[in-house]
Structure formats: C-alpha cells, structure tokens
C-alpha cells in the first residue's frame, strides 16, 4: 500500500542537476579527466540537496565534472534497469546492499576494490559490516558510504506531553510496548512500524531466531520457526493493542509524514530520514536504540557506490567514489545528516556526533554497530522482500492469522530462494 506522499512521486526524475554549469576554470588535481561522469542516486528532495553539495564540493576540490541524476527513491531501481538496458547506464550509482546482488550477478557491476586501491583508499579504515555486505563472489563489489541501522525515532514533545520517560539504551520490548501504549491517545498513535522484513529482522534476531536457513547461501525462509515466529507474534500483538496507526491512517499518509506532523510519537527507520526531519519546523526529535527481546540486535542499512561495468570513465568514476567515501565527502554527508559514516574517523568525529543538530543521540547508531547483522545478499532477495512484505501487511492490517501468513511466505518465497 502506498501512502500519500507529501512529495509527489511520479515516474519522473525529480531533478537532473547538471554539474557542468560551472565554468569555474578550476583545473586542479584531476586535470587529466575531461569527460563528465554520471552519478545516479535515489533520493528524496532533502537528500538530493546533500548529494548536490557533495558533487559541487568535488568539483571545487578539482575533481572534475560530475553529472548528478537524482531519482525519486521508489523509481531508482526502475531507472537503473532501463538505463542499463538502453545502454545509457550511469558511470556510478548508489544502491542498497539488499538490492545490488542482481546487478552483480547479471554483470552490471565492475568490482570496485582494485580501482579504489589505485585511487588511494584503504578499506581497513572503514567499518567491516558494510564491506562484508558488499562483498560478493569473494570480491568487494561496491564501496559503502554509510553504516546506518534501524533505530527508534521519537518525538520529545509528545513524550513530555504524555509524561512518558525517554527511551533508555537497553529498553526491553515490554517497556517499548508500554511506552507506545502510554503515548497513544488524543489523536496520537504510539508507534509506526512498516510491515517489512527489514523492520522485523532485528526483532527476530534479538529473539534468537533467523530469517533464512543460511545467511550466505539461503535456500529457504525460517520465519515460521518458533523463535522467529514468537518475535513476529509480539509485533502483531503490539498492533493488536491499537498503539499503531490503523489502516486508514496508514493509507492516508506515510509514516515519516505522520511523525513529522505529530500523529505518531515513534517510528522505526534508518538514518535516511534525518535530512527531511531536520527541515520540519517545530519538530523536536531524537533517536533511540531498538528495544531488546533477548539479545541486542539491529539490521544494517547501507548504500554503496557501484561502478557500472561498461563505463568508459572507470578511473574518473573511481576517483569520485574515493572522494565521496573519503574524509571530506563523508564529513559533508554526515554534516547534512544523511549518513552514518562508514569511515570510522568521520563516524566518531563531531561532524556526525555533534549534539547541536538533531538527533542529539547519534551515538545510538555507533552503539548498534557491534550487534549489526544484514539480510542475505542474493539475487532473488528483492523479490523475496516484496513477497514477505505483502504477507506481513496481511497479518498487520488485515488481521489474517500469523500462521496462515507464515505458511504463505514459505509457499511463495522459498521457491524464489531455491531457484
């Protein structure tokens, strides 16, 4: 179900910012490259602004011309597929680890490792989890820009109004449910959680369960097994308390928009929401760790820069990626709020951690790193996610019994993994 976006999606490119406008005469370090490279990112308007500033900073640093193509998040993959098919692929594209496997498997990605080494990037300076997620067939395929994870966004004003104490670092699921219930009322719902596997996975893991039989080479889903099932049941029970938006509210407006307008007091998402939330006037928000069912756990959210295998400008493209994931690039995107830097030195710097700009508790993202796990990297995964998401939606909003839904997930998703 698509909720009403505050920003119209459409099948259009929101903006195609050409970096070629500037005749700055700046002919610094990267002087040998002349042809501009094309970079495509899927981004909402506030995020798009972040990437535009990154590109202009690169140009000012003498990096050369970059043509930035920003596409609405929902249309990013479609645009990429069509661009590759029509032979008009961007030189560089940003893609989530949950979605890049099909591109690698089908030969669209040039393994980035050696080229980055030439450009002077030492992967030892970066967090390992995202690098592992982007390693496929034994080689680093794409270079991660961030190590985000699932957290709880919460609205300070609504907490204060309901006289509910702020979330603590190791709060339990029961405390989380009680908090959500206490916040519910007076036109406000306690918490919003999308019915998707990336939202559910950390709770499954926290409860000692798994989502697939083998994380590197999955052959079937395991959500029906007792620990996983119990975690999902806990979420279904939370929905049953009425502390989450009902289906009319979900259909009327997306969760981030409901959070921005004070209709839900908490919602679960990754770092990606920050630029837009900062733009919302009068919204006082922070982030908190996910509640714990058994062991602490969270799920990796990470995007990486991939090089298209057919690129004529592979070296220039790698130089841009090196800049984007380097200290300057990472500082810039961290300051804008968009990323949890994958470069350790920037992640622990004030650029990311400074409490002067919301969210004050960015440390939460770094604290989650030891418990991070990621969903399987396999070509069938995007479709498996869609199947699971559609079924979870039935359990969450249609009131279909969980076991029926789990049986349906096995029936539909397992053949996709087995293929």
């Amino acid at each position: 179900m698509r909720a009403i976006p505050l920003v119209l999606p459409a099948l259009l490119v929101l903006s195609a910012c050409s970096g070629g406008a500037g005749a700055d005469g700046d002919d610094g370090g990267g002087g040998e490259s002349t042809a501009p490279i094309t970079v495509q990112v899927g981004a909402d308007p506030e995020e798009a602004a972040v990437y535009r500033s990154l590109v202009s900073a690169y140009r000012e640093a003498g990096g050369g011309e970059v043509e930035l193509v920003t596409v609405a998040r929902d249309d990013h993959l479609t645009r990429l597929s069509t661009a590759f098919t029509s032979g008009d692929a961007p030189d560089v594209f940003l893609v989530n680890y949950r979605q890049y496997a099909p591109f690698v498997q089908r030969g669209a990605v040039e393994p980035i490792g050696p080229l980055l080494e030439d450009a002077g990037v030492d992967t030892a300076n970066y967090y390992e989890e995202p690098l592992r997620a982007f390693t496929y067939d034994g080689a680093l395929q794409c270079m991660p820009q961030n190590i985000s994870s699932l957290v709880v966004y919460w609205n300070r004003d609504l907490f204060a109004r309901a006289r509910v104490p702020a979330p603590t670092a190791d709060w339990s699921w029961a405390e989380f449910v009680a908090t959500a219930q206490a916040l519910t009322g007076d036109g406000v719902k306690g918490v919003g959680i999308d019915p998707s596997i990336v939202r559910m996975a950390p709770f499954v893991w926290s409860n000692g369960g798994t989502i697939v039989d083998d994380e590197t080479e999955p052959t079937r889903t395991t959500l029906h097994e007792p620990d996983a099932r119990a975690a999902l049941q806990a979420v279904v029970d939370l929905v049953g308390t009425g502390a989450t938006p009902d289906r009319e509210q979900l259909a009327a407006q997306g969760l981030p928009e409901q959070f921005m307008t004070g209709k839900v007091a908490m919602f679960l998402s990754s770092r990606v929401e920050v630029p837009a939330l900062r733009e919302q006037r009068g919204l006082d928000f922070d982030v908190a760790a996910l509640p714990v069912m058994g062991e602490p756990a969270s799920v990796l959210h990470s995007d990486a820069y991939c090089l298209a295998s057919g690129s004529d400008n592979a070296a220039a493209a790698a130089r841009f990626v090196a800049y984007a994931v380097g200290t300057q690039g990472q500082t810039l995107t961290a300051l804008a709020g968009r990323t949890v830097p994958s470069l350790r030195s920037v992640a622990t710097s004030p650029a990311f951690l400074s409490p002067s700009r919301a969210p004050a508790s960015s440390q939460v993202f770094l604290d989650a790193i030891p418990h991070l796990r990621h969903t399987p990297v396999t070509p069938a995964w995007p479709e498996v996610e869609d199947v699971i998401g559609a079924q979870l939606e039935r359990a969450f909003t249609e009131g279909v019994p969980l076991d029926e839904v789990l049986a349906e997930i096995r029936a539909q998703a397992d053949p996709l993994l087995a293929r």
Partner: protein
C-alpha cells in the same frame, strides 16, 4: 493491387513500429535477458515457468475482474453522456460535452495522483462525502475490494474518446426515426432500447473491444500510482506484475513472456464483445 501503393507507407510504418517490436518481444520471450548481456535462449523454460506462475495468473484474474466492471461502466458513462448531450445545442450542452471530455485531457499520472487525494481515507473528499451522507465507506485504499473499486473509479471517467465516438454515432441517427417512434406513442425508454441503442450498437461494439484493451493496459498507471498493487496485492494487475518483473527484478526475458501471454489473453477478451454482439444481433432484428 492498385491499393497497394497507397497503403504501402502505412504497412511499412506498422511493420517498423508495431510488428518488429512485437516480433522482438516474442523472440525475447524464449530467453533469459537482464539487459546487461546478450539474451540467452532457454527454449520453453519460460513457458513452463509461466504455467506455474501463480502471481501472474492471480494478477490476470484481477485484471479480468477490474475489466469486467470497468468496461461496462465506462461504456455506460460514455454512451449515457452521449445520449444526454446529443439533444439540443446550447451553452449547457456545450459545457456538458467539455466536461465529459475533460478527464481524458488530464495526463494519466496527474489524474491518478488527483484520485490518490480524492480517495484518501482521512483527507479525501469522497470518503468524507460518503460519511456526510451516512453511506458506508468501502475503504478505497485500505480494503482489497475497496481498492479494486477505487481502481475502477479512477478509470471510469476517462472516457472522452469513447464519448466523442458515441456522440457521433448518436448524432448520425436521423431525427425522423425518433419522431416516428414519438408519433407511434413509444416511450423514451422504448425509443432508447429499440431504436437508439440498437442503431448505435455497431459503434458501441467497437468501443467495447477497444475498451477491453484500454482498461487492461491502462489499469497500470492507477494501479502503480494510486494503490501500488495493494492492499496485499488486491490491485496487482497483470501490467503491474510485468512492470515489476521487468524493471524491479530486471528479468526482461521472462517479462516478455508475460507480455506476450497478456497480449494473447487480451485478444481473447476483446473478442468477447464481438461474440456477445453476434448472439444479440440474431435476436433483435425481429423484435
């Protein structure tokens, strides 16, 4: 033979623009193709997969269901508007005709987004209106049947072309035929059912055939933008499945298989009005 030179540019054009891509799609239907490397022929593997593709067949069912409601509704609105607005000239008739055509001038995407607002369960005018009137709200974006109904509504009013054709067909009926019915004491209902509609039937039939194709194919834009196939795949129509297969999962070869299958099925569905008309035609001449 003399007609050939005149028709040649048209035939050439349709060969280049229609038949060649169609042939290409048919060829791709028997390959694995992901857009990055050359297509790999896989024989009849895709057909076997098609036969067992429950998602696709469920979507075909959804498309058929939506078409079964939307096509008659669209024809009813187009022909009804044509009958109402055929009567006399004047500012009101002109205004009515413009109003009937207007929805078709709006781009599909803009129209779909407009309806996304109209149907919004909390902020949309239609659920609000139903509430004021004390009528039950079917849950246009929230329940499976409500969403299907919403999808039908989005498509129901974009009937400008059909309206214009139906209006022309209505105006082509000589007025003395209706005067003859009036003098004979026939009611307006008798005139409409025994004279007007039978005389418009051949045109309405062509419209019906066309509309089956239009609805099956056009169900794509509102299904993508208004309901995104949901809730829980209730509005996952066949074109949307093909779109996802091709552009979200990148399986262009198998998506071609699905496209060709949908084309064949649409052809069969479009023949249904023809069959229906042939059955009706035998009966009405004597009545």
């Amino acid at each position: 033979m003399r007609r050939l030179p005149l028709a040649a540019p048209y035939l050439l054009g349709s060969a280049l623009l229609v038949l060649a891509p169609l042939g290409l799609a048919a060829a791709l239907a028997f390959t694995d193709y992901f857009g990055f490397r050359a297509p790999e022929p896989t024989g009849t593997d895709n057909l076997a997969r098609l036969a067992g593709d429950q998602v696709f067949w469920a979507a075909v069912g959804t498309s058929a269901l939506v078409a079964a409601v939307a096509v008659p509704l669209r024809l009813f609105l187009a022909v009804g508007a044509a009958l109402l607005l055929a009567r006399r000239r004047g500012a009101r008739t002109a205004l009515g005709r413009v109003a009937a055509y207007l929805p078709s001038v709006v781009p599909d995407a803009a129209w779909a987004l407009l309806w996304l607002w109209i149907l919004n369960p909390l902020y949309g005018p239609l659920p609000a209106l139903l509430g004021v009137l004390g009528l039950p709200d079917p849950g246009f974006l929230t329940t499976p049947w409500g969403a299907r109904l919403g999808l039908v509504l989005v498509m129901a009013f974009q009937v400008g072309e059909a309206f214009v054709v139906a209006l022309a067909a209505r105006l082509a009926i000589p007025s003395r035929l209706h005067e003859a019915v009036a003098v004979e004491g026939g009611s307006p209902w008798f005139a409409m059912t025994r004279v007007t509609l039978p005389l418009m039937a051949p045109v309405v039939l062509v419209l019906a055939v066309r509309d089956v194709v239009v609805v099956v194919q056009n169900a794509f834009v509102p299904a993508l933008l208004v309901t995104d196939g949901g809730p829980v795949d209730a509005t996952l129509t066949a074109p949307l499945v093909i779109y996802r297969r091709a552009f979200e999962y990148g399986e262009l070869g198998y998506a071609s298989t699905l496209s060709v299958a949908l084309l064949v099925l649409t052809g069969i569905a479009a023949a249904f009005p023809l069959w229906l008309a042939a059955r009706l035609a035998g009966r009405q001449r004597v009545a």
